[in-house]
Protein backbone atom coordinates (compact mmCIF):
# COMPACT_ATOMS: atom_id res chain seq x y z
CA UNK A 1 0.00 0.00 0.00
CA UNK A 2 1.12 3.54 -0.69
CA UNK A 3 2.31 5.67 2.20
CA UNK A 4 -0.84 6.86 3.98
CA UNK A 5 0.83 10.10 5.06
CA UNK A 6 1.57 10.84 1.44
CA UNK A 7 -2.01 10.11 0.38
CA UNK A 8 -3.31 12.41 3.13
CA UNK A 9 -0.97 15.08 1.92
CA UNK A 10 -2.29 14.72 -1.64
CA UNK A 11 -5.84 14.84 -0.29
CA UNK A 12 -5.19 18.13 1.48
CA UNK A 13 -3.81 19.70 -1.68
CA UNK A 14 -6.71 18.39 -3.74
CA UNK A 15 -9.11 20.05 -1.29
CA UNK A 16 -7.24 23.34 -1.66
CA UNK A 17 -7.44 22.99 -5.44
CA UNK A 18 -11.19 22.38 -5.28
CA UNK A 19 -12.06 25.48 -3.26
CA UNK A 20 -9.66 27.64 -5.23
CA UNK A 21 -11.00 26.44 -8.60
CA UNK A 22 -14.60 27.02 -7.60
CA UNK A 23 -13.78 30.40 -6.04
CA UNK A 24 -11.82 31.56 -9.07
CA UNK A 25 -14.83 31.58 -11.37
CA UNK A 26 -17.50 31.93 -8.73
CA UNK A 27 -19.21 28.72 -9.83
CA UNK A 28 -18.96 24.96 -9.51
CA UNK A 29 -19.74 22.26 -6.99
CA UNK A 30 -17.43 22.19 -3.97
CA UNK A 31 -19.56 20.13 -1.55
CA UNK A 32 -19.61 16.75 -3.26
CA UNK A 33 -16.10 17.32 -4.60
CA UNK A 34 -14.69 17.74 -1.08
CA UNK A 35 -16.62 14.71 0.15
CA UNK A 36 -15.16 12.43 -2.52
CA UNK A 37 -11.49 13.38 -2.20
CA UNK A 38 -10.47 10.19 -0.40
CA UNK A 39 -12.29 8.03 -2.95
CA UNK A 40 -10.51 9.68 -5.89
CA UNK A 41 -7.09 9.72 -4.23
CA UNK A 42 -7.44 6.05 -3.27
CA UNK A 43 -8.57 5.13 -6.78
CA UNK A 44 -5.88 6.96 -8.74
CA UNK A 45 -2.93 6.60 -6.34
CA UNK A 46 -3.51 3.11 -5.01
CA UNK A 47 -6.27 1.03 -6.55
CA UNK A 48 -6.36 1.43 -10.32
CA UNK A 49 -3.86 0.19 -12.82
CA UNK A 50 -3.79 3.14 -15.20
CA UNK A 51 -1.51 5.01 -17.54
CA UNK A 52 -1.43 8.73 -16.86
CA UNK A 53 1.53 9.60 -19.05
CA UNK A 54 0.22 8.35 -22.38
CA UNK A 55 -3.56 8.68 -22.35
CA UNK A 56 -5.40 6.37 -24.70
CA UNK A 57 -9.15 6.61 -25.17
CA UNK A 58 -9.54 2.84 -25.55
CA UNK A 59 -7.59 2.14 -22.36
CA UNK A 60 -6.65 -1.40 -23.32
CA UNK A 61 -5.38 -3.38 -20.32
CA UNK A 62 -6.03 -0.43 -18.00
CA UNK A 63 -8.63 -0.14 -15.28
CA UNK A 64 -11.10 2.56 -16.30
CA UNK A 65 -13.07 5.08 -14.28
CA UNK A 66 -16.31 6.85 -15.23
CA UNK A 67 -17.73 9.74 -13.22
CA UNK A 68 -21.50 9.63 -13.52
CA UNK A 69 -22.21 12.61 -11.25
CA UNK A 70 -20.18 14.92 -13.46
CA UNK A 71 -20.81 18.03 -11.40
CA UNK A 72 -18.07 17.03 -8.96
CA UNK A 73 -15.57 17.63 -11.76
CA UNK A 74 -13.22 19.78 -9.59
CA UNK A 75 -12.06 16.81 -7.52
CA UNK A 76 -11.56 14.69 -10.63
CA UNK A 77 -9.64 17.38 -12.50
CA UNK A 78 -7.37 17.98 -9.52
CA UNK A 79 -6.66 14.29 -9.00
CA UNK A 80 -6.07 13.75 -12.74
CA UNK A 81 -3.59 16.64 -12.73
CA UNK A 82 -1.77 15.37 -9.65
CA UNK A 83 -1.68 11.89 -11.23
CA UNK A 84 0.10 13.34 -14.25
CA UNK A 85 -2.64 13.32 -16.90
CA UNK A 86 -2.14 17.03 -17.59
CA UNK A 87 -0.35 20.03 -16.09
CA UNK A 88 -1.58 21.30 -12.75
CA UNK A 89 -1.47 24.86 -14.11
CA UNK A 90 -4.41 23.97 -16.35
CA UNK A 91 -6.62 23.78 -13.24
CA UNK A 92 -6.63 27.58 -13.36
CA UNK A 93 -8.73 27.42 -16.53
CA UNK A 94 -11.62 25.52 -14.90
CA UNK A 95 -14.97 26.76 -16.25
CA UNK A 96 -13.30 29.56 -18.20
CA UNK A 97 -13.86 30.24 -21.90
CA UNK A 98 -11.79 28.00 -24.22
CA UNK A 99 -10.84 25.67 -21.36
CA UNK A 100 -10.58 21.89 -21.65
CA UNK A 101 -11.83 21.79 -18.05
CA UNK A 102 -15.52 22.26 -18.73
CA UNK A 103 -18.01 22.80 -15.93
CA UNK A 104 -18.97 19.18 -16.41
CA UNK A 105 -16.46 16.69 -17.84
CA UNK A 106 -16.26 16.51 -21.62
CA UNK A 107 -14.19 14.74 -24.25
CA UNK A 108 -14.53 17.31 -27.02
CA UNK A 109 -11.20 19.06 -26.43
CA UNK A 110 -9.36 15.84 -25.65
CA UNK A 111 -8.70 16.34 -21.94
CA UNK A 112 -6.57 13.39 -20.90
CA UNK A 113 -8.29 11.06 -18.47
CA UNK A 114 -11.87 11.77 -19.58
CA UNK A 115 -13.52 9.12 -21.72
CA UNK A 116 -17.13 10.32 -21.83
CA UNK A 117 -19.12 13.45 -21.09
CA UNK A 118 -21.22 13.44 -17.93
CA UNK A 119 -23.36 15.95 -16.13
CA UNK A 120 -26.87 15.04 -17.12
CA UNK A 121 -27.32 12.47 -14.38
CA UNK A 122 -27.98 8.77 -14.47
CA UNK A 123 -25.97 7.81 -17.54
CA UNK A 124 -22.61 6.69 -16.18
CA UNK A 125 -23.59 3.26 -14.91
CA UNK A 126 -24.77 2.23 -18.37
CA UNK A 127 -21.54 3.55 -19.87
CA UNK A 128 -19.50 1.66 -17.28
CA UNK A 129 -21.38 -1.54 -18.01
CA UNK A 130 -20.78 -1.15 -21.75
CA UNK A 131 -17.11 -0.54 -21.18
CA UNK A 132 -16.90 -3.56 -18.86
CA UNK A 133 -18.55 -5.74 -21.50
CA UNK A 134 -16.05 -4.59 -24.10
CA UNK A 135 -13.22 -5.52 -21.73
CA UNK A 136 -14.69 -9.00 -21.49
CA UNK A 137 -15.03 -9.27 -25.27
CA UNK A 138 -11.41 -8.17 -25.61
CA UNK A 139 -10.34 -10.84 -23.14
CA UNK A 140 -9.04 -8.31 -20.59
CA UNK A 141 -9.19 -8.86 -16.87
CA UNK A 142 -9.04 -5.13 -16.08
CA UNK A 143 -11.80 -3.58 -14.01
CA UNK A 144 -14.20 -0.70 -14.55
CA UNK A 145 -15.08 1.73 -11.76
CA UNK A 146 -17.98 4.18 -11.66
CA UNK A 147 -19.03 6.83 -9.17
CA UNK A 148 -22.56 8.10 -8.62
CA UNK A 149 -24.26 10.61 -6.37
CA UNK A 150 -26.96 9.28 -4.07
CA UNK A 151 -29.41 11.88 -5.35
CA UNK A 152 -28.53 10.67 -8.83
CA UNK A 153 -30.07 7.30 -8.01
CA UNK A 154 -33.45 8.98 -8.43
CA UNK A 155 -32.86 8.75 -12.20
CA UNK A 156 -34.64 5.78 -13.74
CA UNK A 157 -31.81 4.84 -16.08
CA UNK A 158 -29.70 3.83 -13.06
CA UNK A 159 -32.15 1.05 -12.29
CA UNK A 160 -32.34 -0.09 -15.90
CA UNK A 161 -28.58 -0.43 -15.75
CA UNK A 162 -28.67 -2.11 -12.33
CA UNK A 163 -31.03 -4.74 -13.66
CA UNK A 164 -28.98 -5.33 -16.77
CA UNK A 165 -25.63 -5.70 -15.01
CA UNK A 166 -26.92 -8.30 -12.58
CA UNK A 167 -28.90 -10.25 -15.17
CA UNK A 168 -25.89 -10.41 -17.44
CA UNK A 169 -23.27 -11.07 -14.75
CA UNK A 170 -21.21 -7.98 -15.43
CA UNK A 171 -18.79 -8.84 -12.65
CA UNK A 172 -15.80 -6.76 -13.69
CA UNK A 173 -17.50 -3.58 -12.52
CA UNK A 174 -17.21 -1.80 -9.16
CA UNK A 175 -19.74 1.00 -8.78
CA UNK A 176 -19.68 3.36 -5.83
CA UNK A 177 -22.38 5.64 -4.52
CA UNK A 178 -21.30 8.82 -2.78
CA UNK A 179 -23.77 8.24 0.04
CA UNK A 180 -23.70 11.71 1.62
CA UNK A 181 -27.45 12.04 2.00
CA UNK A 182 -27.64 15.46 0.43
CA UNK A 183 -28.69 16.95 -2.91
CA UNK A 184 -29.33 20.46 -4.24
CA UNK A 185 -32.77 20.94 -2.75
CA UNK A 186 -31.91 19.47 0.66
CA UNK A 187 -31.53 16.10 2.32
CA UNK A 188 -32.11 13.17 -0.02
CA UNK A 189 -34.47 11.78 2.60
CA UNK A 190 -36.69 14.85 2.24
CA UNK A 191 -36.38 15.41 -1.51
CA UNK A 192 -37.12 11.84 -2.56
CA UNK A 193 -36.17 9.12 -0.13
CA UNK A 194 -34.10 6.25 -1.49
CA UNK A 195 -35.60 3.99 1.15
CA UNK A 196 -33.64 0.86 1.91
CA UNK A 197 -30.78 1.49 -0.48
CA UNK A 198 -28.74 -1.54 0.53
CA UNK A 199 -31.81 -3.72 0.20
CA UNK A 200 -32.61 -2.24 -3.21
CA UNK A 201 -29.18 -3.04 -4.68
CA UNK A 202 -29.22 -6.50 -3.14
CA UNK A 203 -32.67 -7.14 -4.53
CA UNK A 204 -31.39 -6.09 -7.95
CA UNK A 205 -28.76 -8.83 -7.64
CA UNK A 206 -25.67 -6.84 -6.72
CA UNK A 207 -22.96 -7.63 -4.22
CA UNK A 208 -23.20 -4.69 -1.79
CA UNK A 209 -20.62 -3.38 0.65
CA UNK A 210 -21.26 -0.47 3.00
CA UNK A 211 -18.38 1.66 4.19
CA UNK A 212 -19.19 4.24 6.84
CA UNK A 213 -15.79 5.93 6.82
CA UNK A 214 -15.76 7.33 3.31
CA UNK A 215 -13.48 10.19 4.32
CA UNK A 216 -10.83 7.99 5.92
CA UNK A 217 -8.28 7.13 3.27
CA UNK A 218 -7.30 3.78 4.79
CA UNK A 219 -10.92 2.68 5.08
CA UNK A 220 -11.59 3.70 1.48
CA UNK A 221 -8.57 1.77 0.23
CA UNK A 222 -9.63 -1.24 2.25
CA UNK A 223 -13.18 -1.23 0.96
CA UNK A 224 -12.05 -0.85 -2.64
CA UNK A 225 -9.61 -3.73 -2.18
CA UNK A 226 -12.37 -5.80 -0.67
CA UNK A 227 -14.58 -4.93 -3.64
CA UNK A 228 -11.84 -6.15 -5.98
CA UNK A 229 -11.86 -9.55 -4.28
CA UNK A 230 -15.59 -9.79 -5.03
CA UNK A 231 -15.19 -9.25 -8.78
CA UNK A 232 -15.21 -12.16 -11.20
CA UNK A 233 -17.81 -14.03 -9.21
CA UNK A 234 -20.86 -13.47 -11.37
CA UNK A 235 -22.18 -10.31 -9.74
CA UNK A 236 -21.57 -6.58 -10.17
CA UNK A 237 -20.25 -4.91 -7.02
CA UNK A 238 -21.67 -1.84 -5.31
CA UNK A 239 -20.00 0.17 -2.57
CA UNK A 240 -22.25 2.47 -0.58
CA UNK A 241 -19.69 4.96 0.64
CA UNK A 242 -20.79 7.22 3.47
CA UNK A 243 -19.12 10.59 3.05
CA UNK A 244 -19.62 14.10 4.38
CA UNK A 245 -20.49 16.72 1.81
CA UNK A 246 -18.02 19.58 2.22
CA UNK A 247 -15.55 17.46 4.20
CA UNK A 248 -12.50 19.40 5.33
CA UNK A 249 -14.04 22.87 5.39
CA UNK A 250 -16.04 23.28 8.60
CA UNK A 251 -18.66 25.70 7.37
CA UNK A 252 -19.39 23.57 4.31
CA UNK A 253 -20.09 20.44 6.34
CA UNK A 254 -23.43 19.38 7.79
CA UNK A 255 -25.48 21.13 5.13
CA UNK A 256 -26.54 20.78 1.49
CA UNK A 257 -25.95 24.50 0.90
CA UNK A 258 -22.48 24.09 -0.60
CA UNK A 259 -23.60 21.54 -3.18
CA UNK A 260 -23.28 24.07 -5.96
CA UNK A 261 -22.17 27.40 -4.48
CA UNK A 262 -18.78 29.05 -4.57
CA UNK A 263 -17.08 30.65 -1.57
CA UNK A 264 -16.41 34.41 -1.62
CA UNK A 265 -12.93 35.86 -0.89
CA UNK A 266 -13.37 35.78 2.86
CA UNK A 267 -14.83 32.29 2.85
CA UNK A 268 -11.97 31.13 0.63
CA UNK A 269 -9.36 32.41 3.11
CA UNK A 270 -11.23 30.69 5.88
CA UNK A 271 -11.33 27.41 3.94
CA UNK A 272 -7.67 27.57 2.94
CA UNK A 273 -6.67 28.22 6.56
CA UNK A 274 -8.15 24.80 7.32
CA UNK A 275 -6.36 22.99 4.48
CA UNK A 276 -2.61 22.60 4.49
CA UNK A 277 -0.77 23.47 1.28
CA UNK A 278 1.26 20.29 0.87
CA UNK A 279 2.23 20.11 -2.79
CA UNK A 280 2.10 23.75 -3.80
CA UNK A 281 -0.97 25.53 -5.14
CA UNK A 282 -1.41 25.47 -8.90
Amino acid sequence: MADITQLKSISSQVRRDIVRMVHANNSGHPGGSLGCVEYFVALYFEIMNHNSSDFDMDGFDEDLFFLSNGHISPVWYSVLAHSGYFEKSELATFRKLNSRLQGHPATEEGLEGIRIASGSLGQGLSVGIGSAMTKKLNGEDSLVYTLHGDGELQEGQIWEAAMYAAANKVDNLIATVDYNGRQIDGDVEDVLSLGDLEGKWKAFGWEVIIEDKGNDIESVINVLNKAKTLTGKGKPVMILLRTEMGQGVDYMMGTHKWHGSAPNDEQLSNALSQLEETLGDY
Binding site: A106, S120, S126, V127, G130, L137, Y164
Partner: protein
Protein backbone atom coordinates in the same frame (compact mmCIF):
# COMPACT_ATOMS: atom_id res chain seq x y z
CA UNK B 1 -36.87 9.16 -68.53
CA UNK B 2 -34.45 6.67 -67.07
CA UNK B 3 -36.09 3.35 -66.33
CA UNK B 4 -35.76 1.74 -62.93
CA UNK B 5 -37.07 -1.80 -63.14
CA UNK B 6 -38.51 -3.17 -59.92
CA UNK B 7 -36.13 -5.88 -58.79
CA UNK B 8 -38.52 -7.20 -56.17
CA UNK B 9 -40.25 -6.05 -53.04
CA UNK B 10 -38.87 -6.11 -49.53
CA UNK B 11 -38.85 -4.14 -46.33
CA UNK B 12 -35.91 -1.83 -45.72
CA UNK B 13 -35.46 -3.28 -42.21
CA UNK B 14 -34.49 -6.56 -43.85
CA UNK B 15 -31.77 -4.66 -45.65
CA UNK B 16 -30.51 -3.61 -42.24
CA UNK B 17 -30.70 -7.14 -40.85
CA UNK B 18 -28.88 -8.63 -43.84
CA UNK B 19 -26.27 -5.88 -43.82
CA UNK B 20 -25.67 -6.42 -40.13
CA UNK B 21 -25.23 -10.16 -40.65
CA UNK B 22 -22.67 -9.48 -43.34
CA UNK B 23 -20.83 -7.06 -41.06
CA UNK B 24 -20.77 -9.73 -38.39
CA UNK B 25 -18.79 -11.91 -40.75
CA UNK B 26 -16.40 -9.24 -41.97
CA UNK B 27 -15.82 -7.00 -38.95
CA UNK B 28 -15.26 -8.64 -35.59
CA UNK B 29 -15.62 -5.32 -33.77
CA UNK B 30 -19.24 -4.96 -34.80
CA UNK B 31 -21.61 -5.73 -31.93
CA UNK B 32 -25.39 -5.47 -31.89
CA UNK B 33 -27.81 -4.47 -29.15
CA UNK B 34 -31.56 -4.63 -29.19
CA UNK B 35 -34.34 -3.52 -26.85
CA UNK B 36 -36.74 -6.45 -27.12
CA UNK B 37 -37.50 -6.04 -30.82
CA UNK B 38 -35.06 -8.49 -32.37
CA UNK B 39 -37.65 -9.93 -34.75
CA UNK B 40 -39.02 -6.55 -35.82
CA UNK B 41 -35.51 -5.23 -36.44
CA UNK B 42 -34.49 -8.39 -38.35
CA UNK B 43 -31.54 -8.86 -36.01
CA UNK B 44 -32.27 -12.54 -35.40
CA UNK B 45 -29.77 -13.86 -37.92
CA UNK B 46 -26.95 -11.82 -36.39
CA UNK B 47 -27.96 -12.95 -32.91
CA UNK B 48 -27.90 -16.57 -33.98
CA UNK B 49 -24.62 -16.35 -35.86
CA UNK B 50 -22.78 -14.23 -33.30
CA UNK B 51 -24.38 -14.79 -29.90
CA UNK B 52 -21.34 -13.44 -28.04
CA UNK B 53 -21.61 -10.15 -29.92
CA UNK B 54 -25.34 -9.70 -29.47
CA UNK B 55 -26.69 -7.96 -26.37
CA UNK B 56 -30.37 -8.10 -25.41
CA UNK B 57 -31.04 -4.90 -23.47
CA UNK B 58 -34.66 -5.59 -22.64
CA UNK B 59 -37.21 -2.79 -22.71
CA UNK B 60 -34.70 -0.29 -21.39
CA UNK B 61 -33.59 1.93 -24.24
CA UNK B 62 -31.80 4.57 -22.17
CA UNK B 63 -29.52 1.93 -20.71
CA UNK B 64 -28.98 0.45 -24.17
CA UNK B 65 -27.75 3.76 -25.58
CA UNK B 66 -25.48 4.33 -22.58
CA UNK B 67 -24.04 0.83 -22.83
CA UNK B 68 -23.46 1.30 -26.54
CA UNK B 69 -21.48 4.47 -25.82
CA UNK B 70 -19.41 2.61 -23.23
CA UNK B 71 -18.79 -0.31 -25.56
CA UNK B 72 -17.03 1.93 -28.06
CA UNK B 73 -14.28 2.44 -25.48
CA UNK B 74 -12.04 -0.47 -26.37
CA UNK B 75 -12.86 -0.47 -30.05
CA UNK B 76 -16.29 -2.02 -30.46
CA UNK B 77 -18.76 -0.66 -33.00
CA UNK B 78 -22.21 -1.02 -31.47
CA UNK B 79 -25.33 -1.09 -33.66
CA UNK B 80 -28.40 -0.45 -31.51
CA UNK B 81 -31.77 -1.53 -32.78
CA UNK B 82 -35.28 -0.54 -31.83
CA UNK B 83 -38.21 1.39 -33.30
CA UNK B 84 -37.41 4.91 -34.46
CA UNK B 85 -39.41 6.63 -31.72
CA UNK B 86 -37.65 4.62 -28.99
CA UNK B 87 -34.34 5.26 -30.77
CA UNK B 88 -34.70 9.04 -30.64
CA UNK B 89 -37.28 10.90 -28.57
CA UNK B 90 -37.23 8.37 -25.74
CA UNK B 91 -33.44 8.54 -25.39
CA UNK B 92 -32.60 11.97 -26.70
CA UNK B 93 -30.62 13.10 -23.67
CA UNK B 94 -28.64 9.87 -23.57
CA UNK B 95 -27.79 10.26 -27.25
CA UNK B 96 -26.98 13.93 -26.83
CA UNK B 97 -24.54 13.53 -23.95
CA UNK B 98 -23.14 10.00 -24.09
CA UNK B 99 -23.06 9.60 -27.88
CA UNK B 100 -23.10 12.89 -29.82
CA UNK B 101 -21.27 15.26 -27.45
CA UNK B 102 -18.87 12.47 -26.49
CA UNK B 103 -18.47 11.68 -30.22
CA UNK B 104 -18.79 7.93 -29.76
CA UNK B 105 -18.82 5.46 -32.62
CA UNK B 106 -22.39 4.29 -32.03
CA UNK B 107 -24.74 3.39 -34.89
CA UNK B 108 -28.34 4.07 -33.86
CA UNK B 109 -30.44 1.93 -36.17
CA UNK B 110 -34.12 2.75 -36.19
CA UNK B 111 -36.92 0.83 -37.80
CA UNK B 112 -40.65 1.48 -38.23
CA UNK B 113 -40.04 5.17 -38.85
CA UNK B 114 -42.88 7.33 -40.06
CA UNK B 115 -46.51 6.71 -40.99
CA UNK B 116 -45.81 3.41 -42.75
CA UNK B 117 -45.52 1.71 -39.40
CA UNK B 118 -49.27 1.63 -39.91
CA UNK B 119 -51.85 0.18 -37.58
CA UNK B 120 -50.02 0.74 -34.28
CA UNK B 121 -50.87 4.40 -34.63
CA UNK B 122 -49.38 7.74 -33.70
CA UNK B 123 -47.69 6.64 -30.47
CA UNK B 124 -45.25 4.65 -32.58
CA UNK B 125 -45.21 6.68 -35.81
CA UNK B 126 -42.36 9.03 -35.12
CA UNK B 127 -42.27 11.88 -37.65
CA UNK B 128 -39.85 14.12 -35.78
CA UNK B 129 -36.79 11.88 -35.52
CA UNK B 130 -34.80 13.30 -38.42
CA UNK B 131 -35.18 16.78 -36.99
CA UNK B 132 -34.08 15.74 -33.53
CA UNK B 133 -31.09 13.84 -34.78
CA UNK B 134 -29.87 16.32 -37.35
CA UNK B 135 -29.82 19.07 -34.73
CA UNK B 136 -27.14 17.20 -32.79
CA UNK B 137 -23.55 18.19 -33.62
CA UNK B 138 -21.37 15.23 -34.69
CA UNK B 139 -24.43 13.22 -35.79
CA UNK B 140 -24.75 11.80 -39.30
CA UNK B 141 -28.34 11.15 -40.42
CA UNK B 142 -29.15 8.58 -43.10
CA UNK B 143 -32.56 7.52 -44.47
CA UNK B 144 -32.15 4.94 -47.25
CA UNK B 145 -34.89 4.24 -49.78
CA UNK B 146 -35.05 0.51 -50.45
CA UNK B 147 -33.72 -2.86 -49.36
CA UNK B 148 -30.51 -2.67 -51.37
CA UNK B 149 -29.67 0.85 -50.28
CA UNK B 150 -30.39 0.08 -46.63
CA UNK B 151 -28.13 -2.97 -46.74
CA UNK B 152 -25.37 -0.98 -48.39
CA UNK B 153 -25.79 1.87 -45.91
CA UNK B 154 -25.62 -0.52 -42.96
CA UNK B 155 -22.32 -1.87 -44.22
CA UNK B 156 -20.97 1.59 -45.06
CA UNK B 157 -21.59 3.15 -41.66
CA UNK B 158 -19.41 0.56 -39.93
CA UNK B 159 -16.46 1.94 -41.89
CA UNK B 160 -17.24 5.51 -40.87
CA UNK B 161 -15.95 6.62 -37.45
CA UNK B 162 -18.56 8.60 -35.52
CA UNK B 163 -22.20 8.62 -34.41
CA UNK B 164 -24.77 7.73 -37.06
CA UNK B 165 -28.56 7.65 -37.09
CA UNK B 166 -29.81 5.13 -39.65
CA UNK B 167 -33.54 5.31 -40.30
CA UNK B 168 -35.57 2.67 -42.12
CA UNK B 169 -39.06 1.23 -42.15
CA UNK B 170 -41.50 -1.60 -41.77
CA UNK B 171 -43.45 -2.14 -45.02
CA UNK B 172 -42.45 -4.06 -48.06
CA UNK B 173 -41.51 -1.57 -50.79
CA UNK B 174 -40.10 -1.82 -54.33
CA UNK B 175 -36.40 -2.57 -54.72
CA UNK B 176 -34.98 -0.44 -57.52
CA UNK B 177 -31.47 0.57 -56.47
CA UNK B 178 -29.01 -1.81 -58.14
CA UNK B 179 -27.43 -4.20 -55.66
CA UNK B 180 -23.93 -3.17 -56.69
CA UNK B 181 -24.47 0.59 -56.43
CA UNK B 182 -21.85 1.87 -53.98
CA UNK B 183 -23.13 3.70 -50.93
CA UNK B 184 -21.28 6.90 -50.25
CA UNK B 185 -22.21 8.73 -47.04
CA UNK B 186 -23.08 12.35 -47.80
CA UNK B 187 -23.36 11.84 -51.55
CA UNK B 188 -26.73 12.26 -53.24
CA UNK B 189 -27.72 10.12 -56.21
CA UNK B 190 -28.93 11.58 -59.49
CA UNK B 191 -31.72 9.19 -60.41
CA UNK B 192 -33.14 11.10 -63.34
CA UNK B 193 -31.96 14.21 -65.09
CA UNK B 194 -34.54 16.84 -65.93
CA UNK B 195 -34.85 20.52 -66.66
CA UNK B 196 -38.19 21.84 -65.37
CA UNK B 197 -38.34 20.92 -61.70
CA UNK B 198 -36.08 19.28 -59.12
CA UNK B 199 -37.52 16.63 -56.85
CA UNK B 200 -35.37 15.85 -53.82
CA UNK B 201 -36.58 12.76 -51.99
CA UNK B 202 -35.49 10.49 -49.17
CA UNK B 203 -36.60 7.13 -47.77
CA UNK B 204 -39.86 5.62 -48.94
CA UNK B 205 -40.66 8.76 -50.95
CA UNK B 206 -37.86 8.13 -53.45
CA UNK B 207 -39.78 5.48 -55.36
CA UNK B 208 -42.85 7.70 -55.30
CA UNK B 209 -40.74 10.53 -56.67
CA UNK B 210 -39.75 8.34 -59.63
CA UNK B 211 -43.40 7.44 -60.20
CA UNK B 212 -44.26 11.12 -60.05
CA UNK B 213 -41.52 11.98 -62.54
CA UNK B 214 -42.95 9.44 -64.95
CA UNK B 215 -46.38 10.99 -64.64
CA UNK B 216 -44.97 14.48 -65.06
CA UNK B 217 -43.18 13.32 -68.20
CA UNK B 218 -46.56 12.33 -69.58
CA UNK B 219 -47.65 15.91 -69.00
CA UNK B 220 -44.60 17.24 -70.82
CA UNK B 221 -42.73 18.22 -67.63
CA UNK B 222 -39.12 17.17 -67.28
CA UNK B 223 -38.39 16.35 -63.63
CA UNK B 224 -34.95 15.86 -62.16
CA UNK B 225 -35.04 13.32 -59.34
CA UNK B 226 -32.37 13.32 -56.68
CA UNK B 227 -32.13 10.72 -53.95
CA UNK B 228 -30.75 12.24 -50.78
CA UNK B 229 -30.10 9.31 -48.47
CA UNK B 230 -27.77 11.27 -46.19
CA UNK B 231 -29.77 14.15 -44.77
CA UNK B 232 -26.79 15.26 -42.72
CA UNK B 233 -24.24 16.09 -43.97
CA UNK B 234 -26.29 17.28 -46.93
CA UNK B 235 -24.89 16.95 -50.45
CA UNK B 236 -25.21 20.64 -51.24
CA UNK B 237 -23.51 20.42 -54.60
CA UNK B 238 -25.96 18.04 -56.24
CA UNK B 239 -28.92 20.15 -55.06
CA UNK B 240 -27.43 23.51 -56.07
CA UNK B 241 -26.39 22.24 -59.49
CA UNK B 242 -29.89 21.01 -60.07
CA UNK B 243 -31.84 24.08 -58.96
CA UNK B 244 -29.52 26.33 -60.95
CA UNK B 245 -30.96 24.50 -63.92
CA UNK B 246 -34.61 23.99 -62.87
CA UNK B 247 -35.11 27.04 -60.62
CA UNK B 248 -37.66 25.26 -58.44
CA UNK B 249 -37.73 22.32 -56.07
CA UNK B 250 -40.05 19.84 -54.40
CA UNK B 251 -38.84 17.95 -51.36
CA UNK B 252 -40.50 14.69 -50.37
CA UNK B 253 -40.16 12.71 -47.18
CA UNK B 254 -42.05 10.67 -44.60
CA UNK B 255 -41.49 13.17 -41.80
CA UNK B 256 -42.82 16.41 -40.39
CA UNK B 257 -42.07 19.46 -42.51
CA UNK B 258 -40.48 20.86 -39.35
CA UNK B 259 -37.01 19.46 -38.98
CA UNK B 260 -37.06 17.38 -42.12
CA UNK B 261 -35.02 17.10 -45.29
CA UNK B 262 -37.13 19.86 -46.82
CA UNK B 263 -36.01 22.30 -44.18
CA UNK B 264 -32.39 21.34 -44.73
CA UNK B 265 -32.84 22.02 -48.44
CA UNK B 266 -34.62 25.34 -47.92
CA UNK B 267 -31.99 26.41 -45.41
CA UNK B 268 -29.33 25.74 -48.02
CA UNK B 269 -31.20 27.46 -50.81
CA UNK B 270 -32.14 30.61 -48.94
CA UNK B 271 -28.45 31.13 -48.16
CA UNK B 272 -27.34 30.52 -51.75
CA UNK B 273 -29.95 30.51 -54.49
CA UNK B 274 -33.37 31.54 -53.12
CA UNK B 275 -35.70 29.15 -54.88
CA UNK B 276 -39.43 28.41 -54.81
CA UNK B 277 -39.99 25.18 -52.90
CA UNK B 278 -42.94 22.93 -52.07
CA UNK B 279 -42.89 20.41 -49.24
CA UNK B 280 -44.37 16.95 -49.55
CA UNK B 281 -44.28 15.97 -45.88
CA UNK B 282 -46.52 15.80 -42.85
CA UNK B 283 -47.73 19.22 -41.83
CA UNK B 284 -47.63 19.62 -38.05
CA UNK B 285 -49.92 16.77 -37.11
CA UNK B 286 -49.64 13.33 -35.57
CA UNK B 287 -50.50 10.20 -37.52
CA UNK B 288 -53.13 7.57 -36.67
CA UNK B 289 -53.96 3.91 -37.15
CA UNK B 290 -54.47 2.63 -40.67
CA UNK B 291 -52.70 0.68 -43.37
CA UNK B 292 -49.47 2.20 -44.62
CA UNK B 293 -51.01 2.95 -48.01
CA UNK B 294 -54.11 4.55 -46.50
CA UNK B 295 -51.99 6.72 -44.26
CA UNK B 296 -49.65 7.86 -47.02
CA UNK B 297 -52.69 8.88 -49.04
CA UNK B 298 -54.50 10.62 -46.20
CA UNK B 299 -51.44 12.60 -45.16
CA UNK B 300 -50.51 13.59 -48.71
CA UNK B 301 -47.36 11.54 -49.25
CA UNK B 302 -48.21 9.83 -52.56
CA UNK B 303 -46.82 10.21 -56.06
CA UNK B 304 -49.88 12.26 -56.97
CA UNK B 305 -49.02 14.72 -54.20
CA UNK B 306 -45.52 15.11 -55.59
CA UNK B 307 -46.99 15.74 -59.05
CA UNK B 308 -49.28 18.45 -57.68
CA UNK B 309 -46.44 20.01 -55.72
CA UNK B 310 -44.26 20.04 -58.84
CA UNK B 311 -46.94 21.76 -60.87
CA UNK B 312 -47.55 24.26 -58.08
CA UNK B 313 -43.91 25.12 -57.61
CA UNK B 314 -43.35 25.55 -61.35
CA UNK B 315 -46.05 28.20 -61.38
CA UNK B 316 -44.09 30.10 -58.73
CA UNK B 317 -40.90 30.34 -60.81
Amino acid sequence: MKDYPVLGKKDTRSGFGDGLLELGKTNENVVAMCADLTGSLKMGAFKEAFPDRFFQAGIAEANMIGMAAGMTIGGKIPFTGTFANFSTSRVYDQIRQSVAYSDKNVKICASHAGLTLGEDGATHQVLEDVGMMKMLPNMTVINPCDYNQTKAATIAIAEYEGPVYLRFGRPSVPIFIPEDMPFEIGKGIMLNEGTDVTIVATGHLVWKALEAAKELEGKGISAEVINIHTIKPLDEEIILNSVMKTRCVVTAEEHQIAGGLGESVSSLLCRTIPTPQEFVAVDDTFGESGTPDELMTKYGLDAVDIVSAAEAVMRRK
